[in-house]
């Protein structure tokens, strides 16, 4: 029954989506308001149908309905409820179903919020989203059909991939990633809609899609950080980023979207870069599809390549169609994409944005070349090569350092040509901070020039961005007599977009410092200990107390109890484990982490004696790691401040109405 509901919802949804696309497109072309309305109604209907299909699947999973082949593939009676629900994205078919559902939701929302806008921009934007939706729904009824029948119905299933049921973050990272990926469809659809309707010249598509882009970008940011966290907590190697092809696949659209968020300001202010911005939006969308191709086709080995098969090549076709369609539309709009404006100065913020875009593009290109090169080399030379962490670090760390530097310069420079006095006022503080940090890091024994430079540039960017808050708040305090807290609050409220951006910059500084510190000052030791024995890692004594075993419904656990002492005093008791799942030969490492703002102590159980007399432990001491996660949250907070729809400008009347003297006594201003 569940299977029938799910399957028929998918088939009907595909038909409805095709109908909606036709109605919307021809309704717009022939100016038939009735067709258009019907098309929008069909868009809501396809969302309802996709919702029905998705809920049917969740219901099937929870009810252990093994007559559905997806459930038989990833379900098991012993799996805890949480992991049963999230196995919706535990394999290919469910992932595509979830993707299709999110896409249907966003399509319906785009229609709902913009349907009354005049002109053909919204119909063609909707049509683009429906077109992408048809692609995914086609996958769902054909190569990735999740509701196939199983006969005879098995009594139980194998459960999800062990890696996907070992940590709660698996319930967070994938949906965030899909929201980010699918969200990038919206600015792409607006760009295509703008070109198809001939309304691309005035850049209204950028205003209409701005919040969508920022929202998708925030989700993608959160997804990448959550993915790093998952990798850190589950893979047992004490790292968080390995330049795995799939990590790269999620990072590339993030880079191009970041470039777009910046370059779009040049278009809004000066009418420049119209074509370039379209390119970035199309590239971002194409890269999300490319990422899916890379992970789903199995052409590259990766921790995420859970399935292999022909389905990947459908994505290749989708990329080709995307690029072709955007090329045709760009060519048809060439005269509307001519830029007439000029930058306001050489030493100006506009110039910094251009270099920011150059670096982010070069970054994307480097990651793309590095990710695809093994395929190319094998095809040409017939020998496999690896392009891994040492390569990416060598090539991209200089780019990261330069970006950190620009992140400080950009906010400090005005749009107009900066004069010497402005440069001195804005940059002296950051330069001094950078100099002091450089000397201090070298003095503290940082021997890698890049690490020292990263710390220095991080200090530079930090002081420059904080300086913007301080300067703005001071001006308000002086002119309006506001208290420091009020001034800061009003400053943010009056310029959400700008200061939200600076908050995001501060988050990036936190991530950059944490990554540099945790890799530079990492201390690590591995030893086999008998019960009661200790090893010493950088001042910490690590004592093995116990090796134990435990049976859980869905797995067997071998664990250790370890006490960490510092100067004879107990600091923490940790239990690094190995989880054995029946479907996997290899145990899933389950490290134990003791986290403090100053850093982590990371313990992984590497091996154990069958008789429980000894165990091999790896101890890694990594400073500042939690600041990577915190920094990610700060970045998302910045994005949310920029998105917030309410009170974009504090009305002047309200600000004036506040009696200056009624403000609370100034809290220590500096």
């Amino acid at each position: 029954m569940t299977r029938a509901i799910g399957a028929s919802s998918l088939y009907v949804s595909l038909a409805v989506t095709v109908a909606a696309l036709l109605l919307v497109t021809f309704g717009a072309r022939r100016a038939q308001a009735g067709w258009l309305r019907a098309g929008y109604a069909a868009t809501y209907l396809q969302f309802g149908l996709m919702t029905a299909a998705t809920f049917a699947m969740i219901f099937g999973l929870v009810a252990h309905d093994f007559s559905i082949d997806y459930v038989a593939q990833v379900g098991s009676r012993a799996t805890p409820l949480y992991y049963t629900v999230i196995s919706l994205w535990g394999a290919l078919e469910g992932s595509i179903l979830f993707w299709g559902w999110v896409l249907a939701l966003l399509t319906a929302l785009v229609v709902f919020w913009n349907r009354s806008r005049e002109g053909n921009l919204i119909p063609y934007t909707t049509a683009t989203m429906l077109g992408v939706g048809i692609f995914f729904q086609f996958l769902l009824v054909s190569p990735a059909f999740p509701f196939g029948a199983v006969s005879p119905v098995p009594p139980d299933g194998p459960g999800p991939n062990p890696l996907l049921q070992n940590h709660w973050l698996m319930g967070i990272h994938p949906p965030l990633l899909y929201l980010g990926y699918v969200g990038m469809t919206v600015p792409f659809a607006f760009a295509m809609g703008a070109m198809a309707s001939g309304e691309v010249g005035d850049g209204s598509w950028i205003r209409l899609s701005r919040r969508w882009t920022l929202g998708a970008w925030a989700f993608l940011t959160a997804a990448i950080i959550a993915g790093m966290w998952w990798s850190y907590e589950v893979l047992g190697w004490g790292g968080y980023w390995a330049w795995d092809p799939v990590e790269n696949a999620s990072f590339m659209p993030w880079l191009t979207a970041t470039a777009f968020l910046h370059s779009v300001m040049v278009q809004e202010r000066r009418g420049l870069l119209k074509l370039w911005n379209l390119n970035l939006v199309v590239a971002t969308f194409a890269l999300t599809i490319l990422g899916t191709f890379l992970t789903r086709s199995g052409v590259l080995s990766s921790v995420h390549a859970f399935t292999e098969g022909l389905i990947g090549y459908y994505f290749l076709v989708a990329i080709a169609i995307t690029l072709l369609a955007s090329f045709v539309l760009v060519a048809g709009n060439s005269e509307r994409l001519v830029s007439f404006g000029k930058l306001e100065g050489v030493a100006s913020r506009g110039t910094v944005f251009l270099f920011n875009n150059l670096l982010l593009t070069a970054f994307t290109f480097t990651v793309l070349v590095g990710t695809l090169f093994p395929l190319f080399a094998e095809a040409v030379r017939g020998e496999k090569v690896s392009v891994g962490e040492p390569f990416f670090n060598r090539m991209t760390i200089p780019i990261c350092a330069a970006l950190l530097f620009l992140m400080g310069v950009g906010p400090a420079l005005p749009w107009k040509e900066a004069d010497r006095a402005t440069l001195r006022r804005k940059l002296l503080g950051p330069i001094i901070a950078a100099g002091v940090t450089l000397v201090a890091s070298v003095g503290a024994g940082v021997r890698s020039p890049y690490a020292a430079l990263a710390f220095a540039f991080a200090a530079f960017a930090f002081v420059a961005n904080i300086g913007e808050f301080v300067e703005g708040a001071r001006a308000r305090m002086r002119l309006r007599g506001e208290s420091a807290v009020d001034a800061l609050g009003h400053l943010l409220a009056a310029n959400r977009r700008r200061y939200g951006g600076y908050v995001a910059h501060l988050g990036v500084v936190a991530v950059a410092v944490a990554i540099t510190a945790s890799s530079t000052f990492r201390a690590e030791h591995e030893a086999t200990l008998k019960k009661g024995e200790s090893m010493t890692v950088g001042g910490l004594q690590v004592r093995l107390d116990e090796v134990w075993g435990r049976e859980e419904p869905q797995r067997s656990v071998i664990g250790t109890t370890v006490t960490i002492l510092k100067g004879g005093r107990e600091v923490a008791r940790l239990d690094p484990r190995m989880n054995f799942y029946p479907t996997s030969q290899q145990p899933v490492p389950t490290p134990a982490v003791r986290s403090r703002p100053s850093g982590d102590i990371y313990l992984n159980l590497q091996a154990f004696a069958q008789d429980g007399t000894n165990a091999t432990l790896r101890v890694i001491v990594e400073p500042l790691v939690p600041w990577i996660w915190a920094g990610g949250m700060i970045i998302c907070l910045g994005a949310m401040i920029s998105i917030a729809p309410f009170g974009r400008r504090v009305p002047a009347a309200v600000v004036e109405a506040e009696p200056p003297m009624a403000a609370p006594a100034p809290v220590a201003a500096t």
Binding site: W237, L272, V346, L354, L358, F365, R381, K384, P390
Partner: protein, 140 residues
């Protein structure tokens, strides 16, 4: 606290590039310092070698059994006085060039280094020209 811990550790390991292990051992006291020096050298070599059973992790990072064995081999060979290049050549002989996480900068592999650099340099020239041509006010 923790960063000073890391600091002590990194200070304890002198620069070892190309150094001969026997000499290092003689110079350093045999206890902790000598061990962490060897450990550091092992990590340096191991982090460039790919774990054959993992997904793109180096044998320095991977917790898998095979990686642990390979890392042990690197440690032994370093202790026996082999140079990092000799050790890498040994693993290439066994697993092919694939085992190197960073492709050797020669032949076709040069592309993977040259392409991004070309974009950076070409792009920088383009942006500079663009800014010059599209600014209201020009600096001399």
């Amino acid at each position: 606290m923790v960063s000073s811990v890391g600091l002590v550790f990194s200070l304890a390991a002198p620069g070892l590039l190309g150094g001969d292990l026997a000499a290092q051992d003689a110079a350093a006291p045999r206890v902790a310092a000598g061990d962490s020096a060897l450990e550091r050298r092992t990590r340096e070599v191991a982090s460039g070698l790919r774990c054959p059973v993992c997904q793109g992790l180096s044998i320095a990072d991977s917790p898998s059994e095979l990686a642990l064995e390979m890392k042990g081999l690197v440690r032994e060979q370093l202790a026996a006085g082999k140079t990092p290049d000799q050790i890498r050549a040994y693993f290439i002989g066994k697993y092919g060039e694939w085992v190197l996480l960073e492709p050797k900068a020669e032949g076709l592999n040069l592309l993977v280094y040259v392409l991004p650099l070309t974009l950076v340099v070409g792009g920088a020239l383009f942006v500079i020209r663009y800014v010059r041509a599209n600014s209201e006010k020009r600096n001399s």
